[in-house]
Amino acid sequence: MPQTKKEIVKVEDLHKRYGKEEVLRGISMEVDEGEVVILVGPSGTGKSTLLRCINQLTRPDSKKVWVNGIDLTNPKTDIDKARQHIGMVFQDFNLFNHLTALDNVMLGLTQVLNMDKETARQKAMAELDRVGLCNKFMNYPGQLSGGQKQRVAIARSLAMEPIVMLFDEPTSALDPELIGEVLVVMKDLAMAGMTMICVTHEIGFARDVSTRIVFMEHGDIVEQGTPKKMLSNPDLPRTKQFLGKISDLH
């Protein structure tokens, strides 16, 4: 039965240049509700820039980025309001260093969504529980391992009830032993139907949970397709070469 999926993210002919260097050269992509899209490609290819252009942490040079039907490049759009529902997880966690795990998750609830303290506290505890860290709620970021920090960061985003989650190399700064615990949380999230766009080279994760792998190089999309096709039988030799290399590593 054909089903019209709701379009969550849409970018059209996205351009971004830093000085002379053109980082994004006209990217177009659409992400539907419930999709888990993996962005892969050599470093310096513009994957992170693409993510940041989606929630406008980086302002693109072109004018076509929609999230949930709202044009985020329109100056009249309340970008803060739009960002409330676009979760973002960073490579280096970026937890608020001066706040406990609980307060990290609560800050957006009380200060952005104006929730009362008690409700926010319960909600934050529930989110910490979801990432398996409710026993660490009083710990400061400096007292958590990298994997725990990243899980708190995910909880902080989830508490805002995002319609889409952007992951910018969420496991790249972690010791190999700690990567698993973060991937488990991300897998649960994908299974629960969260729309996700992840920059990651965790090929196992891509194979198991993604709906699409997008291979980028030099600021452009080279090829995209289902993980099965991309990993076993891509159209282009360059895709095969790159994905083959990172598959061997894992």
């Binding site: 929630n55 942490l57 803060d80 309001k81 739009a82 960002r83 409330q84 529902h85 676009i86 979760g87 973002m88 960073f90 280096d92 966690f93 970026n94 937890l95 608020f96 260093n97 001066h98 800050l107 957006g108 200060q111 952005v112 710990n139 400061y140 970021p141 400096g142 007292q143 958590l144 960061a153 902080r156 985003s157 805002m160």
Partner: protein
């Protein structure tokens, strides 16, 4: 002992003026210094350049010269008592130094903190208030305690405007009783105690609000 009995009232009167001048100057300096620092970091290129000129000029000139210039500038516009004119001038001077201290402290907060705050939909100003400044002020305490010691000592400069702070009172005393040594040594001891306890207090504050594990 008789000398001390005469000296103490002079010293106490002067000490309270010194404390008031210092308190007002540091307070004004902190308030405007923080605003200057925030505007310099987040206010955009043009504003930042203008403010750089402001802080550069204030930091380039001798404090006593600035005190006189600002005093006579202010005196032309409004009628202020020498106490307020002096304290305000010291505060303005201190704001230039404190702006640099706080600016450095803000820049020491990792960029990702602002990005993370913005990514959950927090407006920029609120992110500065709730995420950046609480961390920046912790970085600022050690250099700030240096500035506090300087302002305590600079408070003696308001004597050029005729404000009877502790050093001025010591001069009154020594002129009357011919005991300069006793007067100035007493004042020296008091300045030492003031800066010493202030720095100790700020050290304690720094430890108290240190972020666990950071």
């Amino acid at each position: 002992m008789e000398e001390l009995r005469v000296l103490v009232p002079y010293i106490l009167r002067g000490l309270s003026v010194t404390l008031e001048v210092t308190g007002v100057a540091l307070g004004i300096g902190l308030f405007f210094g923080a605003i200057l620092a925030i505007l310099r970091v987040y206010g955009g290129d043009i504003l930042s350049r203008i403010l750089t000129v402001y802080t550069s000029i204030l930091r380039a000139l001798p404090h006593i010269l600035l005190l006189l210039v600002i005093y006579f500038l202010i005196a032309r516009i409004v009628n202020l008592s020498p106490f307020w004119a002096g304290s305000l001038s010291l505060g303005i001077i201190s704001s230039a130094y404190q702006a640099e201290i706080i600016r450095g402290a803000i820049l020491a907060v990792p960029r990702g903190q602002m990005m993370a705050a913005r990514s959950i939909g927090m407006p920029r100003f609120k992110a500065i208030l709730k995420v950046i400044l609480p961390q920046a002020f912790r970085h600022a305490i050690p250099p700030w305690s240096n500035e506090a010691a300087i302002v305590i000592k600079d408070s003696s400069l308001v004597y050029v405007l005729g404000v009877p702070e502790i050093l001025r009172q010591a001069q009154y005393y020594s002129a009357r009783e011919y005991q300069p040594f006793l007067a100035y040594v007493t004042v020296a001891v008091i300045y030492f105690l003031l800066t010493f306890t202030t720095n100790r207090g700020l050290d304690a504050l720094e430890k108290r609000i240190r972020i666990p594990g950071f």
